[in-house]
């Protein structure tokens, strides 16, 4: 070793700032009795369609707010806001994921004391959003049938961090070689505590199960 060179032990988490901010978000929303849910998926898997179904299904029960993070577009937030739901559009400017600091800005823009549930529509991507704690109390992902049953192999981390998997577009099952039993086996091998629901935002199949899950989580949260 060269003279004058020494070693400094650092032992610090690279994402410690984000983890700290995420923890603050969770505490703040828990104090307000507001459940924060992080919704992740590939582009085109049905996040916005699911939100629209959710708005309909929760009418008269849970008060919902939405934080939208889809890249450089206000289309999704406008669709949500047009239904009378408070929606914030975050400008992620081509960023591949949301971090806790960005979510904080979204929450600041909502009146959380008047909301029971806030859904973050994360950036459409199965890699990066899985790595960053958003401060959400629950992580939910959508996998749509046309994407294929091999996705747990390619994106194991995403499947590992989620509490619920929604398999969307089951109306496509008869047209595809998607193997639901194999998918379930692959997902549960990665994450034995995950719940899996089969839905179709198009036909409405399974949507009542999703709404029931949401109500259950929110009710448990308020205890």
């Amino acid at each position: 070793m060269m003279a004058g060179i020494r070693l400094i032990e650092v032992k610090e988490e690279i994402l410690s700032d984000n983890t700290k901010t995420a923890g603050q978000i969770r505490e703040r929303l828990r104090a307000a009795n507001t459940l924060l849910l992080n919704l992740m998926s590939s582009p085109g898997s049905g996040k916005t369609s699911l939100l629209l179904r959710t708005i309909e299904g929760l009418k008269g029960s849970l008060r919902l707010g939405v934080i939208e993070a889809d890249i450089d577009s206000v289309v999704d937030a406008e669709k949500v806001a047009a239904r009378g739901i408070p929606a914030v559009q975050l400008r992620t400017g081509g960023f591949c994921h949301l971090d806790a600091a960005m979510v904080t800005r979204g929450i600041d823009a909502l009146d959380i004391d008047k909301l029971d549930l806030v859904v973050i529509e994360n950036v459409g991507n199965l890699v990066c959003p899985a790595e960053f704690d958003t401060g959400a109390h629950r992580n939910v992902m959508i996998l749509s049938v046309p994407e294929g049953d091999d996705k747990p192999l390619k994106y194991p981390l995403m499947f590992s961090v989620c509490d619920l998997l929604l398999v969307n577009k089951i109306d496509f099952l008869s047209l595809s070689d998607f193997n639901m039993a194999l998918l379930r086996e692959r997902v549960l091998a990665l994450n034995p505590r995950i719940k899996i629901l089969e839905i179709s935002c198009k036909t409405g199949a399974g949507i009542e199960d999703w709404i029931a899950w949401l109500k259950g989580e929110a009710a448990g949260f308020n205890v």
Partner: protein, 116 residues
């Protein structure tokens, strides 16, 4: 894909420790990154070169140690290492039980640095 914000965090922590220790120059930064994390070593170095210009850490080399994916069997509770390429088919080598709970493999840690 998100090497840039990760590298910003790395530099921030490196400079904090460098200043606290009265360092003249940071030579090498050693990271421990779990195999489940999708980071490209080359891009971390490139972004670091760019971001660290004009700081104590300019020109430092980034060394990355990949830490293994470790699962705990849901059946026998034993823990074992598993390969990323076989994550869709996790089988406990001890009891043959399918699946498990992830114990480690997601690390994002700065271990140590060599400084002058």
């Amino acid at each position: 894909m998100h090497e840039l914000p990760i590298t910003e965090s790395i530099l921030k922590i490196v400079l904090k420790h460098a200043e606290a220790n009265g360092v003249r120059k940071v030579k090498t930064v050693h990271l421990k990154i779990g195999r489940l994390s999708d980071l490209e070593d080359e891009w971390i170095q490139r972004y670091f070169n760019y971001l660290s210009k004009g700081t104590l850490a300019e020109g430092a080399k980034i060394g990355i140690e990949r830490t293994p994916i470790v699962m705990r069997c849901n059946g026998c509770s034993g823990s074992y290492e598993w390969e990323l390429a076989k994550m869709d088919d996790v089988i406990c080598p001890a009891c043959g039980g399918k699946g498990g709970t992830l114990l480690s493999g997601r690390e994002y840690t700065i271990k140590e640095m060599e400084v002058e």
